[in-house]
């Protein structure tokens, strides 16, 4: 057993343990142990690893993670035209691989008026229709209608992005996306070059370089017109930057005039696509991970078969999974965009196939914990828009939004404040 050393002020890669005798969190220097064999498991419980410390705030990554969908349901607010006795839903369904909208008209007896009685009547008519007709049935999309206060809400099993994109209503019905309105949707991250906007800001330097080093046919990453501003939403591939792409002619002379020629200039340009972190605004300034996770973890939904399930599995996992005494349930959350960046920014494992390629994964490896690859898609707790949530795009190494019905890695984190 080697001589382990604890530190009062931890840094990235230090192991996080719980002292079972005091119930307190302690930090083990990453260079003072080589495996769990060095740790007295009768005295200490393994919690995870330090991703970052800012002053007294320590971002701790839990020892395990798992792939989960952000939301199992999609939700609308339904409006009904006054006096209407029917309404039409036009929805996608799996039977044709979500290719076309299919129209369904639901009827009821009394001309609609916006009151409780009429809302109840419409909801009853909807649920009757849903229970009887494909693809609304519980065994398919499991549509449900509910009266919530003075509103009518619809929700269904969210399994394909085209549901959110193409479902519509007409002829007496109107639909407004209404998924987790408590979580603000923000898509704005300042890059170092001064530009802002949504997806495209680099989340992992190594992955971004590995991907954009190669020629790319997409005009998004290989401009097909002259670039006139340094404020680029997305990175540009190296051949595109150099004007040597087989897909485009040279449109990046202006950028090269700023950052320089050759690969060295491109690297400077790529560095300008990194986020400005920390910040007091935008996604990198949102530090409400715990608040949002609590809201999402508490959300449940009813199905036609009367089951009652967590609505947001990723948040639910992050909030409820950690099972350690020193940082019990209630201390963990799903990371914000900034926290995902704090975790993933320096990860080398993935582009280098070695669990010890970076200090965070090396410690996770020594602890026998789950790896975090820079090629993995990692969910954040931040909404992007009505249908998307932010995630680190493991293919490209930048932040992006994705449909909440998709499974990505849910990584429990805890913000621990040093004494």
């Amino acid at each position: 057993m080697s001589k382990i050393q604890f530190t009062r002020i931890p840094n990235r890669g230090d192991a996080v343990l719980g002292d079972l005798t005091t119930g307190k969190v302690v930090f083990l220097r990453q260079d003072s142990f080589s495996s769990t064999a060095d740790i007295d498991n009768t005295r200490y419980e393994i919690i995870g690893v330090v991703a970052k410390r800012e002053g007294k705030k320590v971002l701790i990554v839990y020892k395990t993670n798992a792939s989960r969908v952000w939301s199992k349901r999609y939700s609308y607010k339904l409006t009904v035209t006054a006096g209407a006795t029917s309404g039409t839903l036009s929805i996608r369904q799996s039977s044709d691989s979500w290719a076309e909208n299919h129209t369904h008209t639901i009827t009821w007896t009394n001309a609609f008026a916006d009151d409780a009685e009429h809302r109840t009547e419409v909801v009853a008519a909807l649920n009757t229709y849903f229970a009887a007709n494909s693809p609304f049935k519980g065994t398919e999309q499991d549509w449900m209608a509910e009266v919530v206060g003075s509103e009518i809400h619809l929700h269904y099993s969210y399994v394909d992005w085209r549901q959110a994109n193409y479902n519509t209503a007409s002829s007496g019905f109107g639909l407004t996306a209404n998924l987790l309105p408590e979580i603000p949707a923000i898509a704005n991250i300042l890059r170092r070059h001064g530009g802002t906007g949504g997806e495209g800001v680099i989340s992992n330097w190594y992955r971004a370089l590995a991907y954009f080093e190669n020629d790319n046919s997409s005009a998004t990453y290989n401009p097909n017109s002259d670039v006139t501003s340094v404020k680029r939403t997305y990175p540009i591939c190296l051949p595109g930057y150099l004007g040597t792409s087989i897909y485009q002619s040279d449109h990046c002379a202006a950028l090269r005039a700023v950052y320089g020629e050759g690969r060295e200039g491109w690297l400077k340009f790529m560095a300008s696509c990194l986020p400005v972190v920390p910040s007091d605004w935008g996604n990198m300034g949102m530090d409400f991970g715990m608040k949002w996770t609590k809201i999402m973890a508490a959300k449940r939904f009813s199905s036609q078969s009367m089951t009652n399930e967590p609505l947001c599995p990723a948040a639910y996992y992050c909030y409820n999974t950690p099972n350690v005494q020193a940082l019990p349930v209630g201390k963990w959350h799903m990371p914000t965009v900034k926290e995902v960046y704090d975790i993933l920014g320096g990860v080398v494992y993935g582009t280098v196939n070695d669990r010890n390629a970076d200090i965070l994964n090396a410690t996770l490896n020594k602890l026998g914990a789950s790896a975090i690859s820079n090629g993995t898609h990692v969910w954040s707790s931040s909404r992007y828009n009505s249908s998307y949530a932010w995630f680190a795009y493991g293919n490209f190494g930048f932040f992006s939004g994705n449909y909440m019905c998709v499974s990505h890695l849910a990584v429990p984190v805890s913000l621990y404040e040093l004494a």
């Binding site: 050393q5 009062r8 220097r29 923000i186 704005n188 802002t196 300008s272 605004w281």
Partner: protein, 504 residues
Amino acid sequence: MSSAKKFKVNGVVYDIDVNATETIAAAQAAAEAANAAAANANALQQNLESGSVVPAKAGNLDSWAGKTLNAPDVQTEKVFTTGGDVSIDSSVNAQIEHIIAKTDFTATSLLSTGFNLLRNAVAVGDGWYFPVPALAFGAINTAAKPNGVLFTNSEGSNLTPTVRFKKLSDGAPSSVSDGSACAYTDATTGGKTYRFYTTSEAGYIIVSGITRASVCAHIGWSGRYDEYKAINASGDAGATVALAAAITAMHSFGKMLAIGNIGDRIDRIGATQVRLTAYIDRVQPSWLTTLNEDGTTYTHEASITAMKTDGAAAFMEANHVLTVNGNTVSYSDNSSAASTDYVKYEKAAPVATTYSLATDFAVEDWGCIVLQGASGEAEIAIAYAQGMPDSLRAIAAVRMGAAEKAIEDADVRTDNLESEVLLLAGDDFEHKYGQPRELYAHDTPAESRIPDNWVQLEDGGYNWTGKPSALGQVYNNVDNLTGAGSIWKAYKKSNYELDWMPAN
């Protein structure tokens, strides 16, 4: 104190360069002299085999440090034995561990005695033989001579192996059946019966049917008078021999005893629990200063000083110096006679000298010092070696561990301090998120007018957008600090952006 002195031990005269100031050089010289003495002792042993002197070998002791012996016990008519085996590396030097004594006590003499005759016995067939003087059994507590050879096991219990005797004049034994069956007398002492093998003259005891490593053969001393005889030829209690003298003149075999001015010899050391096998070699008595020419009297200024007034010997840990009231002693007898095994010095005028325990008392493998109080209820003091190196190693290991722990703690503190410094290296009173909290610029905020102290991308920062980089930031138009709109403060316009608000 001077050098180039002669002294005589066991009938052998040594030329010794003595310096009583006890410098390291002197100690080294003493060690060299001890080596010479050892060489002479080996030569002597060769002689012993010719029958002139009993071989003088003894062995190790288990620790008796701190134990108290009662004089009444040792005054009873018991035969206490030396014997047994312990495993000690013969190259490890013994050192005195500590000395205790608390009675009103004045040590006046010392005696060394006791040996395991089997220790250096000569193998013959499946047995061994060793030379002996004439050994006649006498009544316990009365005879003024040794009572024969007895054999004991590691518990001090009697053994009766096959024992034969061969006269010196008949030459060394050539087999275990050589010579004739050895005479013996069975006698009970201290509640135990022992078999004392006796001989009519000097010769060889041949023993077989034993496992030599677990058996001790030794002279059985029969009582107080024997022991006084060993100390003082007159047999008188109160014979005076300097403690220091006797310590340093430690016999080349056996243990060492101090004889008080009224007390009896304390002979419990080397008794049942104690097993002896390894050598003990005499250390050169560096304090010997004069030697009369007839070879019978030594005069020296005793090395041990500052015997405490209550009689206790003091062990000064700081410099490993034992200080005892020393006395000038005179040599009065030696062990050249085959029937005795002792070296004796008699006390003369007290003097005070200091010498080093670490060197002057060094014995090979083990050693002991027994001090007897004047009242007869002796406190015992032990010089002891066994396990000392391991003990020292253990102490060193503990201290090394403590040192390593201290280093680790220091590392952690350093790490923490470094971390604190790193904390200060980021945001500080002047910067937030890498940009100045107070911007100095010209005109109103605009993307086209980069503040003078803004850190642009090419300088390691990030590009100015015309908007604040952090809440709390202040934009100062240095060209007009007093006019309206010259100072701006950052505010959060929305979740999407910060903006400037005029502060004046």
